[in-house]
């Protein structure tokens, strides 16, 4: 069996839970929630990559020199990724609103006018 950190495990587990929701849930909103969970998992994964044992946040105020800080880049990336996630979710939700208006349902199996 492989050795894997709990943080990684947690992040991957979140991603997989999200994927599971997307693959199984019939309700559109639940699928979107699944997507969000995936994004969260990815963000967690990303940020846990930057962690270095025993170091603190990369704010170089008193007592924390360049050698005492964790990798700042993943944090910056995650900041961006979160915003992107928010944007996607917002878009998805507004599309869902329209869908509900036009189809009267959020069941994914009934939203199938475009096919073939």
């Amino acid at each position: 069996m492989i050795e894997i950190s709990a943080y990684y495990f947690g992040a991957i587990a979140l991603i997989m839970i999200g994927l599971y929701a997307v693959l199984v849930k019939k309700n559109l909103l639940k699928m979107l929630v699944g997507l969000s969970i995936m994004e969260t998992g990815v963000n967690l994964l990303l940020i846990s990559i930057g962690y270095i044992n025993g170091k603190s946040a990369p704010i170089l105020s008193e007592g924390i020199g360049p050698k005492q800080a964790v990798d700042p880049i993943p944090q910056a990336l995650v900041l961006t990724a979160i915003v992107i996630g928010v944007a996607t979710t917002a878009m998805a939700l507004s599309a869902a609103i329209i869908l509900y208006e036009k189809y009267g349902t959020l069941n994914i199996e009934e939203i199938r006018r475009l096919r073939g």
Partner: protein
């Protein structure tokens, strides 16, 4: 002007997009003309960059904030990017005129912003030299695309958009995981540096990372079976947006995938990844062409055709040879022109006759002769008739494919091409030899646009050398990774 002004390519659309609300507050009518202005400016800037890159023969490295890579993010406007940024800008310019006729649904100001941002996203994706920045631009592109797909606000549009979002969301998540793995292994995000260090990655991690990156991009690049969103989105999106999808959005994805593929070529399992992409590309071509065969909606039919052509390009890019990449780039250019032409014409018909159903095309030759002529030339070009541009790139692709030994792939895509010929020719028959109707006055501006594209198709078809040279240079830009690394002025951080 120094090369850093190439950053205007990003700045112009962005600042203009932000300016739109201000303009709208002043006069709502000014929005569309403003769009024309901006795209014209962008085209001018892109033309300047293009000229600069191709005359000096050196790429322009835009370093944001004066930080040398890998510390800062750099834009790498090499031969490929210069060429494609120009295509993006020029197509957008044409579309900004096309918008007048096709976009009637409010709110137009929002549409204008999204339009500019889609252009921006594609430009950025093509130009960037940083893998995370690529992700950001990819998201800009795709979120704009989601919004624009649903722009018509019909049920179909929202449905298509939703499909696109879910698949795109999954794709981008996994892409990000890929980034995480790469960053975690190498500690850098700069593509040139990744290329330098890729060989030192742990084989398993590298394989997974590369696979995930390609997976994420393949969703954007419409490779089967990750392209299920594409026909719906193409069909439901407003016509200019469809043109953009086909002409450059998907190309940006393809380019990004190709770029990542080649910079990671020292990864152990590189060849297997290539083979995988070849298989997917071949399947893309096959499935898309067969799906288009009985299509009753012409726009959707052409969408399928577009997907299949994308498969062609992906096939060429994944061959792993210089010839293949050159051919792929050449096909990208040709496909951008031809599909822009087709979608513009079909969209125009749909606007004038109330839908892109096959029935509306009966007697089109008599009703809208210029449009019908454009569709004809476009279709013939796609089929690969000589004297039209696609012929050359298809020929190149097949030669390159067999050269690598993928005779089966070449055979399969050619079979698919036969199918393609069938449905296009059926369309042509419907247009010219069936039905009739009263003449419709065609818009002069659109006629001019279409004829311009027709002229391009024919000129490249008759004299392909110029574009082929461009494509060769652009192909070398993608393929020659050593040169790429050399071109990026990496500062010696860590390396």
């Amino acid at each position: 002007m120094n090369g850093q002004y190439a950053s205007l390519l990003i700045a112009i659309p962005l600042i203009s997009a932000f300016f739109v609300p201000v303009i709208k507050a002043a006069s709502k009518k000014a929005v569309m003309p403003f769009l024309v202005l901006v795209t014209a400016a962008q085209t001018a800037a892109a033309a300047w960059v293009f000229n600069e890159v191709y005359t000096t023969g050196k790429p322009i490295i835009v370093m944001a904030g004066a930080w040398r890579p890998p510390v800062g993010i750099n834009l790498y406007i090499g031969h490929f990017a210069a060429l494609f940024v120009f295509i993006v800008a020029a197509v957008s310019f044409l579309l900004s005129i096309y918008n007048f006729k096709t976009i009637k649904i409010e709110p137009i100001d929002k549409y204008a912003m999204l339009f500019l941002l889609l252009m921006l996203g594609a430009t950025g994706m093509i130009a960037t030299g940083d893998i995370f920045n690529l992700f950001v631009f990819m998201e800009i592109t795709s979120i704009t695309a989601y919004a624009l797909t649903a722009y018509n606000k019909t049920g179909e549009a929202a449905e298509a958009s939703m499909k696109y979002m879910i698949l795109g969301g999954i794709g981008s998540s996994f892409f990000l995981i890929g980034i995480a793995i790469v960053y975690g292994s190498l500690g850098t995000l700069n593509m040139a540096q990744i290329a330098q260090l890729a060989g030192s990655m742990n084989a398993t991690a590298a394989q997974a990372g590369l696979a995930l990156l390609i997976f994420g991009l393949a969703v954007e690049a419409e490779l089967f079976p990750l392209n299920a969103w594409a026909p719906d989105a193409y069909q439901a999106a407003p016509h200019p947006v469809t043109v953009m999808f086909s002409a450059f959005v998907v190309k940006a994805g393809l380019y990004a995938a190709a770029r990542l593929l080649y910079i990671m070529q020292s990864v152990g399992s590189w060849h297997s990844v290539l083979k995988l992409v070849v298989i997917m590309a071949t399947l893309t071509v096959l499935v898309a062409e067969f799906s288009a065969l009985r299509q009753r909606n012409v726009k959707r039919m052409i969408a399928y055709s577009s997907i299949s052509q994308v498969g062609f390009i992906a096939l060429a890019l994944a061959l792993g040879t210089q010839a293949g990449v050159d051919a792929g780039v050449f096909h990208m250019v040709n496909h951008a022109i031809v599909k822009a032409l087709l979608f513009i014409a079909v969209g125009y018909v749909a606007v004038e006759l109330g839908g892109a159903e096959m029935e509306n095309f009966r007697g089109l030759g008599r009703r809208m002769p210029i449009t019908a002529f454009s569709i004809t030339i476009g279709s013939l070009a796609v089929i690969g008739i000589p004297m039209f541009n696609v012929f050359w790139s298809k020929l190149r692709i097949i030669l390159a494919t067999v050269d690598v030994g993928y005779t089966w792939a070449a055979a399969l895509v050619l079979i698919a091409s036969v199918v393609e010929a069938v449905y296009y020719l059926r369309l042509l028959h419907v247009i010219w030899f069936e039905g009739s109707g009263e003449r419709i006055t065609e818009s002069a501006a659109l006629g001019a646009i279409m004829l311009l594209l027709v002229a391009l198709v024919i000129v490249i078809g008759v004299y392909p050398d110029y574009v082929w040279n461009l494509a060769q240079k652009a192909g070398a830009d993608i393929f020659n990774v050593a040169q790429y690394i050399k071109n990026v002025p990496l500062m010696g951080v860590g390396a």
